[in-house]
Amino acid sequence: MRSRGRKESLAESRDLDGSYDQLTDSVEDEFELSTVCHRPEGLEQLQEQTKFSRKELQVLYRGFKNECPTGLVNEENFKQIYSQFFPQGDSGTYAAFLFNAFDTDHDGSISFEDFVAGLSVILRGTIDDRLSWAFNLYDLNKDGCITKEEMLDIMKSIYDMMGKYTYPAMQEEAPREHVENFFQKMDRNKDGVVTIEEFIESCQKDENIMRSMQLFDNVI
């Protein structure tokens, strides 16, 4: 008995007391996760780090904690929350991209600090900040440039959110065409990729984009 490793004896005890069950295995695992709790840093620190006021941080945290009592959002949760805003389409892919964009330290979960940091850039940052955040979102492998494939993925995920029943009906080629359009606009040196400088420059020249960036001023 003594020679057995701790892991083995653990496994054996699980078998004996019957808490291990093929059917309900996943449920058991989830119980362990839920005991992990994360508390954000103090309000003052967050105030320094972000551009939100104290009251705004309070409101944001209350909403955050309501949906994620443990203080951490994992990708599943995130997708589920985001999908509630788009009942018709499938927002899973886009939510995954968003998750990667928010999860700056890439530890698989978004804490309140990550959440608020991202929101601070989008809602309270300068236009350039916002544009670079958007670039970061598009750059899936974070190598500093957007390729056509990455853009196609993003485009497809955006179109997926619309769902099947749209008017006019969505064409198969629509994302691809949209990507071509985008690259034509953004890719200055026509090298097939869009770098951040090209991106910001082209966006600054586009009236529509500039105007739409200002929409975010009043979200909170």
Binding site: K55, V59, L60, R62, G63, F64, N66, E67, I81, Y82, Q84, F85, P87, Y94, F97, L98, F115, G118, L119, I122, L123, R130, L131, W133, A134, L137, Y138, M151, I154, M155, I158, H178, N181, F182, F199, C203, E207, N208, I209, R211, S212, M213, L215, F216, N218, V219, I220
Partner: protein, 676 residues
Amino acid sequence: MAAGVAAWLPFARAAAIGWMPVANCPMPLAPTEKNKRQDELIILNVSGRRFQTWRTTLERYPDTLLGSTEKEFFFNEDTKEYFFDRDPEVFRCILNFYRTGKLHYPRYECISAYDEELAFYGILPEIIGDCCYEEYKDRKRENAERLMDDNDSENNQEGSMPSLNLRQTMWRAFENPHTSTLALVFYYVTGFFIAVSVITNVVETVPCGTVPGNKELPCGERYAVAFFCLDTACVMIFTVEYLMRLFAAPSRYRFMRSVMSIIDVVAIMPYYIGLVMTNNEDVSGAFVTLRVFRVFRIFKFSRHSQGLRILGYTLKSCASELGFLLFSLTMAIIIFATVMFYAEKGSSASKFTSIPASFWYTIVTMTTLGYGDMVPKTIAGKIFGSICSLSGVLVIALPVPVIVSNFSRIYHQNQRADKRRAQKKARLARIRVAKTGSSSAYLHSKRNGLLNAALELTGSSDDEQHISKSTSLIESQHHHLLHCLEKTTGLSYLVDDPLLSVRTSTIKVYNSEAPKTSPDSLQGYRCNHEFIDEQLFEQNCMDNSMQNYPSTRSPSLSSNNGGSTSCCSRRNKTTTHLPNSNVPATRLRSMQELSTIHIQCSEQPSLTTSRSSLNMKSDDGLRPNCKTSHLTTAIISIPTPPALTPEGESRPPPSSPHPTMNISTTCSNVVKVSAL
């Protein structure tokens, strides 16, 4: 979108940044918040328990009371909080709904109370979360059944049956034998004949005695004629019953498709087929088989027994469990039969000649019957045989508790319905008593009110104590309202209760204006009729005429006669609205008790002039004119229900020739009036 994630809407809007750079066309304008209030705490005071929440939490559901401006009606300026005089326990659930987006139904809460609270706060019950929805629906259904039961019985009780035609009466009689004695008789007669028929079928086959020739004959063949007659009688009764049911059924097609009618048909068909086929000897074999169907008559008993019906319903509702039982048994039988066959193949003279032949062994073993006509002889066979019998116990034991629990649930539901019906009578009686209690309270207080007013005039305070009954403010306002209605219509309320069998009316006594000295001093009064039925009316008219009116008062008499004639003339009218008019006849309609009323009035103004005054509606104005009227009433109350006192006031005695009466001449003023 659930309200819980409403807090994440800003995030979702921020995430839209990913769309902006790729969009080809300009974005629409964002909605602006008109009055961007800082989120504030709202205090909700529900019966003293204070709940606090953010304003935005409540505004998540703008079409409810708390989410809309409707709550401003409940705002208390002094304490700057919203006060609701409702149940705090249920409010907890309701507030949680705003917070989490899920409405829960607590089990300990009464369903109607909960529904009322939901209706008050403007929340639809359909949004109750899945976790609590089943429970809620179950209890609501139970409640609805109970209400329906009550309503049905009340309708029946009130006797306000719409006139049913023959068909409907017959159908009702068939379905509910307790509605009339004829139905009950029919019910028992058919039950008796079903029993007779079943017993004859059984006894027919018993061998009774031998016939010369040493042959044992069954009774059926020995007394063939007798049995045939019995059978014919039973079948005739059944046929008649079936035809009557078919005639009375509201939907004949549906009736013919129902199980009971199919059983009826199957029960009587063999006889008729037998009648037709007796000529043909060839098909007598089939004829014999047909007689088997006569046993279905026993199922006709299910109309007479509720337990049988419950059993049938249980089996129907447990069809899936029964199916599973059958399926698993079949599987096990096939497996074990195969195994036993191959195990016993080797042994000589084995009875296990084929797999189907082994089925019989397997079934007998699995159900632990063990007839012993087939037994395994090899060792392997015995081993497998024992495994077979052990597994049989398990396989059969598994689905049985499910069926049993289903049966128990349905049975208890039925018991509940029966108990409710039994308690219904008591419950309705309670409700009726409460109703009459309130209306008689009104009459009681009115009488007291009269006396009080009269006493005020006389200024005597002796009798005040036993007259002034403490009524709450609400009660007195309610009574005042009824009083006003009476005055408006000129009618007055009657307490009418068949159980109590008391009818009383209130009679107003008031004096006319100026004290006039006239020999015919009579107090004016008014007679009120309402809700009188014809016979009572007649009776009372007769009573009045038999009352001992000292007859010297002509005007009074004439007025009386006029009164009585006019009363009687009104007999034929079915409408009972009354001119508040010239009917100076009193009516005392207590059928059971003697009421003795002493009325003493010191001043009795004349009647003649008072006639006109009778037309005046308000007696209040007149009463003060009789300054020294002193009314006492001694009333013997009826023993039955509480708070009911018959009221009546007799006519004041047609006065003696003394124009002025004073208190000293009380005796002459006393009139004993007895009714019945």
